[in-house]
Every structure is written in C-alpha cells, then in structure tokens.
Symmetry: C2
Subunit: 149 residues, 2 copies
C-alpha cells in the first residue's frame, strides 16, 4: 500500500460528498476539535452552531481548519484538510449569505434538531436562532491510500 | 431530542471503544486536524506516526487534543474531546513506554502499513522506524444525544 497526495479537484470532490467534518479551532495555541455538519460550495464550507466554546474561540481567532475523511479500513481511506478563515454570517451585513447557508444546510435531514438541542444545553434558551457561519478556504490538502483509488 | 454532558466514566468508555481519533494540534494559533489510530489506556492515548507536519507542530507546541465520536445519525451521536500534552516516546528515556505503546497498537490489524506508507510519501525512506507518542490526558469532556443513551 502507498499513499498519494490528492489533487485540488479530488479534494473538492471529497468535500462535496462530505456531510460531517471535524472543525479545528485554537485559542492561546490550545487546539479544540468538534464534529460539525457541513456543506461545501465553491470556496466555502458552510455550517451552523449555537453559542458555545467553539464560536467564542473562532471569534477570537478566525484561523481554523475543517478535516473530513472516508475511512473504510486501515488501508483504505482518504483525508482532506481545508485551512481557512471563520466568517460569521450575521445580519444585516451577511443577510444574503446567511439565507444561502440556511438553504444549503436545510437540505440535510433534521439539521436544526442538533443546533436547537445544543443551544438548550448551553444557554437554557431555545428562542434564539442558530448561528450560521462559513469557512473561506485558503488552502486544501488531501491524502489517499492507494487501495481507495 | 436533547443533548447531555457525559460523565468522566462515559468518556473513558467511549475512548476505550475508539480505534480512530482526530488529533488537533496548533502552531501560531493555526489549528491542524488529522485522523490517527489510537489506543486508550488509563490516563493516556497512544498512537504512532512518522516524520511530518503534525509531529513538527507537536514538538513545537505540545498542547493538543484528541476527538473521537460515534455518529449513527444527526440525532444519534456522541463526541468526546481529550485535552492533553504530547509526549514523544523516544529511546532511551521512554524505552519501556515505547515498547508498551507498540504492543498496544500492534493489536490493531495492519497498523504499521499506514505508518510506513506515510513515511515513504513524506521522507522517501522506509528504513526509519515509526515514531510512537502518547497524549497525557489533562481533561475530558463529552456530549451525547439523548437517543444514544
């Protein structure tokens, strides 16, 4: 078995297939990783959240990454990492982008359940709508095992 | 659906079941996430690697995290994050720990294939043995959706 670097096109194809990614953020050089629902489109990865540690950290430090993988065995896998900048889609500045993110993410079954439930846990208040954000991709790298090709 | 915080015991049980984790490391506040093979035992998560970006970063900044999850649907999942310190199991200082790590990781089928293949890609030299490391866990948090309980 050998491992190859994926082309930019292959990385984007894998992102298109992905519904779940692991978001990496960092504060004071302490990394934090959390699974998120994602939709990839052009140069952006769209997601949503509620108030919480990752949002606080990304507001402080917008340098983030999103990793996604397809692992069907120790010798059959691929992994893509997108490095980029956190952009919170707040109204009114990002009204159009926020509606677009919502539309893209809404296609995923029951996406809103998790967002609302997390909000209830963290804040004890279900009335505030979820927060939408996107990662503007600045670079993409990917590795694939030979058996996956 | 609601989401609950997992107890320390539940987090450790999930780590015991996990074979794959996502390692988060950071340099100059830029996070990086990569999938790794893991074995959890007591206060440590054991893994291996070869030369490469994540090892260079962790040598510079040993503050890391390991995230693992069990996701069977948007309303049925759990996620655990362990924060801790990177320890490279170099000989002769960590000879016993290195042998122990190797023994634990060797139980996973074909674990060495990926390590060697990655090494060949990055360094073009298959003769150097893989590098073993562990994360000394300093804190553990986990969330579980109600349907998973």
């Amino acid at each position: 078995m050998a491992i190859s670097e994926m082309s930019d096109k292959e990385c984007r194809e894998a992102l298109t297939r992905a519904h779940i990614g692991r978001l990496g953020c960092a504060l004071d050089n302490q990394p934090y990783v959390v699974p998120i629902s994602i939709v990839y489109e052009e140069d952006y990865i769209y997601s949503f959240s509620t108030a919480g540690q990752k949002v606080e950290w990304m507001r402080e430090n917008p340098k983030v990454c999103v990793q996604t993988d397809e692992i069907s065995g120790q010798s059959k896998w691929l992994s893509v990492v997108a490095f980029g900048q956190y952009q919170e889609l707040r109204e009114p500045l990002f009204e159009i982008e926020r509606a677009h993110a919502r539309k893209l993410l809404d296609r995923q079954h029951h996406w809103w359940l998790n967002a609302l439930a997390e909000r209830q846990l963290k804040v004890g208040d279900a009335l505030v709508p979820p927060l939408f954000f996107r990662i503007r991709i600045e670079s993409l790298t990917g590795l694939v095992s030979a058996e996956s090709e």
